[in-house]
């Protein structure tokens, strides 16, 4: 499965990985999304009804209790990571509201349409995310 992300996602990861309490962000994302199949990531809460391309919110197990929002485009065999936030700790936040969910959805669709994306992989050691711009 191809893994892409929006710039907003990249910014959040880079912000979080600088804080000790969220240092597991890279490995949590790698464990859940890198080298996985579409079927393996197709779980969590589906936010856009029974659409063939699910918009998903997933709770990641682990210290930060991260919440990841992503879109799957099944026929492209691709996942688009939209946003991540911790649930606990100093930067922890409550559930995001419907307007923000909608705004993320819009940003993701626009980013896919304009190819304003980063490809996401892990480094050789497999412990850090690597972002490469697509444009």
């Amino acid at each position: 499965m191809n893994v892409f992300c929006l710039s907003q996602f990249k910014i959040e990861v880079e912000k979080l990985r600088r804080k000790n309490s969220y240092s597991s962000i890279d490995s949590d994302i790698i464990d859940n999304f890198i080298n996985k199949t579409i079927q393996e990531v197709q779980n969590g809460t589906r936010l856009n009804g029974n659409n063939i391309n699910p918009y998903i919110k997933k709770r990641l197990d682990g210290r930060g209790g991260f919440r990841v929002y992503f879109l799957l485009i099944i026929h492209k065999n691709s996942v688009y990571l939209m946003f991540v936030h911790p649930k606990t700790g100093a930067s922890g936040s409550d559930n995001i509201n419907d307007n923000f969910k909608k705004s993320l959805y819009k940003d993701a669709i626009e980013a896919i349409e304009t190819n304003n994306l980063f490809s996401v992989s892990s480094n050789e050691k497999g412990d850090m995310l690597v972002f490469n711009p697509m444009e």
Partner: protein, 154 residues
């Protein structure tokens, strides 16, 4: 040493021994009390772990409902009841948390279990709120529906 003085001295030592003996026996009783107290803590720990597991199971089941297709009006009615009863349960559990668990937390008792229990409670609230959005709010949001149509064209 005169006999009377010696008697006083012996009595003093004897009193000290008796006092020490009494304290030792009292300490044994305290140890029992400590054991009872520790048993109580273990019992609270077990109850919390059970509740955490139960809540986490409910969260996974509610999440899975979001993947259901062909939701008809009857399903929506039942879902609405599920959301209402979940909200009610959360309210009861939060009241209990404040009343019974906050005092323990302030004393540093069962810290890790209480923290995990609060996380489970928060996840529970989060998931029934999300389900409410998925089935009752977002489908009625024209912008959201338009975005879904746009997504299908990609």
């Amino acid at each position: 040493m005169e006999c009377a003085t010696l008697k006083d001295k012996i009595n003093t030592v004897n009193n000290e021994v008796k006092e020490t003996s009494f304290k030792a026996k009292t300490n044994i009783k305290s140890e029992e009390e400590i054991n009872q107290f520790l048993d109580g803590i273990n019992s609270v720990r077990g109850i919390l772990n059970d509740k955490i597991e139960r809540l986490n199971n409910i969260v996974i089941k509610v999440e899975s409902i979001s993947w259901a297709d062909n939701i008809d009006d009857e399903c929506l009615r039942i879902l609405n009841e599920l959301i209402a009863s979940s909200r009610d349960l959360h309210s009861v559990l939060i009241k209990d948390y404040v009343r019974y668990l906050n005092p323990l937390k302030l004393r540093g008792i069962c810290n890790s279990e209480i923290k995990n229990y609060k996380l489970a409670l928060d996840s529970f609230k989060e998931v029934y709120s999300d389900i409410e959005s998925v089935f009752f709010f977002l489908p009625k949001d024209s912008e959201f529906v338009a975005l879904t149509t746009r997504l299908n064209a990609i």
